[in-house]
Symmetry: C2
Subunit: 345 residues, 2 copies
């Protein structure tokens, strides 16, 4: 298999390096050949080429079977700059047609101490947020004049249908419960979202129980009864906010993987944390989220479910043995590389 490796900025290179070690170990143990090809993206690409997504990088990703992505951004590139690291990630999502972003959240009981929530609320948390990733406010027309700014939020029926299908299919393989999140009491796009979700699930997935939640109410429920959710599907902006919120349940955002998928098996896999410039280069970042993203890559893009399960079990085992990075413990934390080594062994 041919894999593009886009390490990016900040702690991106450090955590990606450990996931690459794990992928190499899997290849060796199971007799696979993974051709891992690095490329520039984000701030690193801006510095080297002037563009956050150089054409060679996009071309490589389009040829590859999957993309392993680190993180992008940092204080050197400001939000008001004309060229910004995030544009690279957004262009990549759009360029590869990755419209469905899967963010699973489970809570390792060993880490309940690191979670801000009371342990009794965390028991049984096992949810996946499916976030629409190539529509909505993110990709709508933007305008600016001296006295005002404008962002358009647009959703088409097919855009909603395809991501709802991904979520409903996932729910079928899980607890068959799907929560669609919108703001239908205010937004026209949300009313279309709700009607479309309703129709797709009722007609194509009659065995899936669908409920609708308003985004404000969902933001409460994620904290007050997170174990009640199975699969959540929502639009791009709401998904951005709710997945970061949900990530705190696990005890650290550093633990959580994500997969971005399109129509075919090609996908992009990245931890949900950012580039954490404050700890970059110190060798203390948590690599588990990126390693678990590599496991999702094995399962979803390469069809290697057993190998994925072995990697996931190895991470769970490292956590259970107390191999914890600084975001997870104050007592003798391990470094990024040591955590990677623990998973490989």
């Amino acid at each position: 298999a041919h894999l593009a490796v886009l390490a990016g900025d900040g702690i991106g290179p450090e955590v990606t390096a450990q996931a690459v070690r794990v992928l190499r170990a899997v290849a060796e143990a199971y007799g696979h050949i993974f051709e891992l090809e690095p490329a520039l993206v984000g701030g690193a690409a801006i510095d080297a080429t002037g563009a956050p997504l150089p054409p060679e990088t996009l071309a490589l990703c389009q040829r590859a079977d999957a993309v392993l992505f680190g993180a992008i951004g940092g204080p050197r590139w400001g939000p008001s700059d004309k060229v910004r690291p995030e544009q690279g990630l957004l262009a990549l999502r759009k360029g590869l047609g990755l419209f469905a972003n899967l963010r699973p959240v489970t809570v390792n009981p060993r880490l309940a101490a690191a979670s801000p929530l009371k342990p009794e609320l965390l028991a049984g948390v096992d949810l996946v947020v499916v976030r629409e990733l190539t529509g909505g406010l993110y990709f709508g027309e933007k305008r600016r004049d001296a006295a005002s700014a404008f962002d358009a939020c647009v959703y088409t029926v097919p855009e909603i249908e395809r991501v709802v299908r991904v979520a409903a299919r996932l729910a079928q393989r899980r607890k068959k419960r799907l929560t669609s999140v919108d703001k239908a009491n205010v937004l026209e796009t949300s009313r279309l979202w709700r009607e479309t979700a309703e129709r797709v699930v009722r007609t194509e997935f009659p065995d899936v129980a669908l409920e609708h939640q308003l985004v404000d109410s969902c933001a409460m429920l994620l904290v007050t009864r997170p174990a009640a959710f199975d699969v959540i599907v929502t639009e791009n902006m709401f998904g951005d906010i709710l997945t970061d919120e949900a990530s705190v349940l696990a005890g650290s955002i550093g633990l959580l993987p994500s997969a971005s998928l399109g129509e075919g098996p090609r996908g992009l896999y990245e931890p949900i944390h950012g580039s954490a410039p404050d700890i970059a280069g110190k060798g203390i970042a948590n690599p588990y989220g990126t390693i678990l993203s590599a496991a999702m890559l094995l399962r979803l893009s390469l069809g290697l479910a057993p190998e994925a399960a072995v990697v996931e079990a190895a991470v769970a085992d490292a956590l259970a043995r107390g191999v914890l990075t600084a975001d997870l413990t104050r007592e003798r934390p391990v470094g990024t590389e040591e955590a990677g080594t623990a998973v490989i062994h």
Copy 2:
């Protein structure tokens, strides 16, 4: 003073009745004359008149010194209906020019048990979210055709300036720390928001420390280190989500008040909870959020700070004495009226 009382739907009438009792008790004890005039809004107004905000109701509110508002909405009025209860509240906010929504969140130590967060994270939580209330996606142009839907998000410089000023003035009277929340790495409106907040605070409020947070990151921080916030200012949609999320810190959304203000002293005061149709009519709803909203009304619209403080102390005292409604305790909860009576005594 002349007060409009818009009880609305669901538990709205029950909780409003208790706040009215408290206002009458304040009037009697301090020798004020409060003329309390009820009017229809929301679903109740739709059923009676066909419109969620009858012209008489708007006219009354425009004449009044302040508006006490209960809650609106319910299963009888669907999100896809042409006429919806929420339209009444949105039209009222717009019609009265209430562009700044203040939502304070503090945690009563007595109620830490009811909060989903670990007690050590709750110590010292004392924040106010100032949400922009008459702009953004809520009031932008909306369109729909057979295959797509559209919502416009627009912000003008004066719209951002005035709400940032409200927040910065509030911060000056508190810990002088202001967090402005946006999604400047993606949205044009957010870049304008950030630049404008930066300019207004630097030039007009040099004693206020301003920081910027991305909305996704803020959604995490509200749960992982809520005590670090003082005043938060953000746009309408983000504020809707973040205030509901922040409300869980207090242990119950039923406890939290809000004030919506414009240029003058007139304001609208409502609990942040909804109409809770599932418990409506049972006499078990928590009236403290509405009573605390009435206290904000006394302070902010009528200039009666001492009276407001007495009401707030009476609520704190009732909580301390264990006068808890069903959302706050499982052991012998009190009803709505009993809680109101406890505050009055």
